[in-house]
Subunit: 388 residues, 4 copies
């Protein structure tokens, strides 16, 4: 007998989580990137791996691309390759942090020629979006400075607006610009879009199809992230999530691995604010599987999001509102945590089976021999990573 | 021979820093409030103490009030008392954190009757502002919750807007509402105005005379505060500073005592953004002299701000811009730090003397015997503090 | 059918968590202490309240005292009062932060007369321990400084050793000294025992019966607390826990309320290191029920510890070790989190009933009418709090 | 007329700061390593660059090596090369974070064969030390885990002891083992030596010639680093500093660039504790010049340390002690900050000239044309970086 109602299961059935192509390539720290046998050598192999996640979970129907890492000669071919594997191409991510010209900025650079190059890169991304059928252009700006005095903070902010305005003007009517913020790294003194407030004022100055991307690992220690989720939904500007988790900085660990209760609170606010299964709010992963296997790392991640969403949907919101209105702190907290502590895994396993999916996707994938197969097949070539 | 040009000295001559009346009363931590002989027993004595700071420095011509701590029968009398002591009454600060009714919120409370009471308190503050000739109503909201689930974050945010709108509507044409944000404390899970972004979107929804107050101690660890200064000036919404300093949380130490270089960077951005000696941007102190003497603690503070402003004005902005444009990181940083490391104290002492002020205000005040005098005079009564 | 084996239940049956007497008095922040009807007015009423927690949970057989807050004329009477209520008196906590003489330190003070007074206070505590039958003298030092230069860090550390040595020498053969550390507050620049390392080197210099107390809220942001648990157990110096939880600083929230998974990891390391149900390691609460009811707040807390201990005992340590040895990151993490996600609450409820306890202690206590009774009975007098 | 006494100048004349060979190679973040023309291609060119720093400042007579990055066929040749350039070889740093075998640990690994390999690497380092004439073996352990459950924290700690003991046993009588700690990175859940306490207990278990290395960037946010300096000096275990600075995590910026006042406080405690110019306490740099030029970046760094040491030596310790003993907080802080705010740069420039050094080493180096020369000369080959 399931503890998940059919209404909850219906909502879960619509859940979709976009995978980042780069999660299937090698990643690491500045100290070392460990390689793994079977790592994809090109965007086609990344998509093949991503499709495995969807096959075992029915949770990950789209794959985000990163340009230039995923540049191919013919995006139509890549699109059909994805469709052949049962997935679609999703968000296109730009890159302004790996070209030598961008050492001191890109969209914010002092030099108009460098800004031109950076804007043009985004226009190319929009062209690719038309070819891939992507809706969203996601911009994470690594720009900033390392030393006080190095940069004129205010001038950069103004130039950022100008650059974004030109990019925004090029979007198709159904396309969106999503601006990510990040507390720090790779810049160590100032970052040009360091917080949700800056991302919000920049996108609000562009137009209705400009939104904020919230990466759960991009905040100062102690930040109440669910509060930001609430506020951005209230302002109608929450465009997407980059899910991952962290103990310290931007650790990019598996979502839900560091502080599961925080993930629960975030998903509760998404539901509370009408953002769950709403087209405005894209769920995406952005993780680095530095030491664990990549495909099962992504399977684990989408399952974590699904399980926690189920728990968040279990909150008895009527009783919770009554306790809140009565000022009954302990009862309100009890109702809230009761959902969190409910074990939804057996019910989800049963439900998966009823839909022709494996009850335990991790075990089923392990049993499939896929990792051994790609290790054997993918010999030679250069393993994909964050290389430009 | 001074290292401060006459242009810099002219700018410094206009500098004004508002003192908080409550800095002269007792303060402490939740563990203990230490009392000191001579502590004021009423608003009149607080203002007398504040006037000492101005007498020795010519830097602190106004005193902020806190209601209800500074309630008096006749504000006209208090106003004349201030003028007799050579100072004026300034910003009026409201208090929604010490009434039992406000245990679970005030402007955000679930209960309309409690919100009514909280709004009415602010309307009373506006009435007082008319009597005192104050321009600014400063609102720091201690509201929030201690446990996940305890409060409906979104509903509170909406109610906050409604309450603020009613207060804002009551302001006179020359008056302003300034909304302070704070990362945490006294609420330990969520705070209703936790960051500059929330304060900004709330005041932007009110009108042109609603502004943000930036308290330098109210941020997450590692936050780049000067970036926020830049952004709020760019958005035309930086209404005031609450200066203090901190090593950990909201420590409320003497401004410039914990990280002098951060204060330098903040003041540089104020100047860069046109906020120095601009009527929109009020400089205020908000400190707690828990273990040090209060009047000299305030003298030390305004001198710290003055000295650091002098250093920030010394930055060779032409050379700095050239180095920034050239991408010369080390030279830009050198120019920036050169101003910081310049010892402006002798030139300021000389300049003070030329204006009939003591070269060393701390020493002159100590020699005045004022502290011994108030310790002898102020016998009996109840020492002022944060009591409701 | 329970998911908790009889072996696990046997271990849980021995679990004991000491309650702090002060949790039943009023507490708050520096901004406001909210009062509640029925709050105890003396140590006898605090113990009566604490006994309620034990009555409904069988988890809290002892109550810690705080001197001078819990000073009585005859500790024998207090001891019998406790026994009459089914509990015993436990750890004695000293207080060196509320006497005016201790404004600049106590055990570390520059002035030998002040140190004498502070040491004598601890000798009095040891005398009380003989009367109450307490084993542990717990010392939390609020000492430190607010401004760089204010204090000589090194001299204070040496004086601390001398003071502690004199106190240690006075202990009975079965008694222990337990030294707590805290990152900051009430001192805002330096704290004399700020981290486990300092507490460790100080107690190691005293002798075998000096131990470290780990308060789960007393660390820098991001600190891996379970690592410290492991290290102190390895060194044989983990004397006790002060359980609570926090989002920001020393918030003193209900244990398990902020980051339940962290509590799980801590308890796992306690078990791993042999510290569970070991006489060396005392489990205690140290929380402030600022906005929630106090007796049910403590019931919730001991239940949280019990439930999380059950989950930690569920970890399949054999399988975990195999996965660790195989370098199977995802499988090791899965085994670990599987225990965390298991819902132990039904099995615990059933087990409670089998022992003659209420299945739901929170509901049973609420139904008892105790809070209404004490609100009606305890009229007049001064409510207990942190007053000296 | 100098504000630096001859006694202070005599002390400054003895100051020596060791440079890391790797500071002259390329470094960056996980996102990008920017290359610069003229970057050394081998250890010989690194040493030539390091010698420039000493030539212009007389502050940096030794260069630390990193194995395997600085492996050469004949260390005698490298030693003579250094001497020919006016410098000596210093500390040898081991590397256990870039070999694929060390993905899950090295000195702590579950597998005895991997531990053997890691220990052997250190034994090789000791052999190199004999050839280079180095006194110190510095061990920074990148070891840890990314996910709870992945590793057995306790077992790793015990294995760490065993491995270190074997390495320690191999040291010559005049050689030392210096163990560095780090809060996090590259491991994101647990790090095996995360804090000074762990480093201290590990080295204390080895013997008198095992010491702690304090890297100023390796602490949790808010940590009072000068307190740790005081404590390690008190315990006789402060072996060396890795100087750098940070705003967020381990940013590895130029020392003194982020929080100059913190550097002042640290150096004051070094002097207070007898660690200045004491053979036990080695001053070293460990920085990453990601965006600025490397040789002038190092010159700037040693000058920053020198200037701040001069300020710290200026503190009027007699007056400070008197103010501390009198409990005069404001006066003690004033005395302390007075030294910090004193501009020592003109006096140091004059003193440098009197010793035949350039008054402005940064300008003199820039005028030398060295950077243009190495950019022209060092064509072809592979630029040195953190590559294994």
């Amino acid at each position: 007998m399931s503890n998940l109602s059919s209404d909850i299961l219906d909502q879960l059935e619509q859940q979709a989580i976009e995978l980042p192509s780069w999660a299937f390539g090698n990643s690491g720290t500045r100290f070392k990137v460990f390689a793994t046998p079977g790592t994809p050598r090109d965007p086609f192999e990344k998509i093949a791996d991503a499709a495995q996640v969807h096959e075992y979970t029915a949770l990950a129907p789209t794959v985000a691309l990163h340009i230039p890492w995923d540049r191919v000669d013919d995006y139509g071919v890549l699109r059909r390759h994805a469709e052949d594997h049962g997935v679609s191409l999703g968000t296109v991510n730009s890159n302004t942090f790996q070209d030598d010209d961008f050492k001191f900025g890109a969209l914010t650079h002092e030099d108009a020629a460098v800004r031109r190059k950076a804007v043009d890169h985004h226009l190319e991304c929009i062209d690719i979006m038309h070819a891939t059928g992507s809706r969203d252009l996601k911009i994470w700006l690594a720009e900033g400075s390392n030393y006080p005095g190095q940069a004129d903070l205010r001038g950069r902010q103004d130039r950022l607006h100008d650059s974004l305005a030109e990019i925004y003007a090029r979007l198709g009517d159904e396309q969106r610009l999503v601006l990510e913020y990040k507390f720090f790294e790779p810049a160590f003194y100032h970052t040009d879009v360091p917080d949700w407030g800056t991302s919000y004022v920049q996108v609000a100055a562009l137009g209705d199809r400009a939104m904020v991307c919230l990466d759960t690992g991009h905040h100062a220690p102690g930040t109440n992230i669910e509060f930001i989720v609430m506020q951005l939904l209230r302002l109608g500007r929450l465009g997407s999530f980059d899910f991952n988790s962290r103990f310290y900085a931007d650790d990019d660990l598996i979502v839900g691995a560091a502080d599961p209760y925080q993930l629960f609170r975030i998903l509760f606010e998404v539901i509370r604010g009408g953002g769950f299964n709403h087209p405005d709010v894209a769920f995406m992963l952005d993780q680095c599987h530095n030491v664990e296997d990549k495909v099962p790392g992504q399977i684990r991640s989408v399952l974590n999001v699904q399980e926690m969403t189920a728990r968040a949907l279990l909150v008895d919101t009527g009783a919770l509102r009554a306790a809140q209105q009565a000022g009954d702190v302990l009862e309100a907290n009890r109702i809230f945590m009761d959902a969190f502590y409910t074990d939804v895994r057996p019910a989800l396993a049963e439900w998966r089976e009823s839909r022709g999916l494996p009850a335990d996707p991790m075990a089923a994938f392990a049993a499939s021999g896929y990792l051994a197969k790609i290790a054997a097949d993918r010999v030679g070539g250069v393993q994909a990573g964050w290389g430009a």
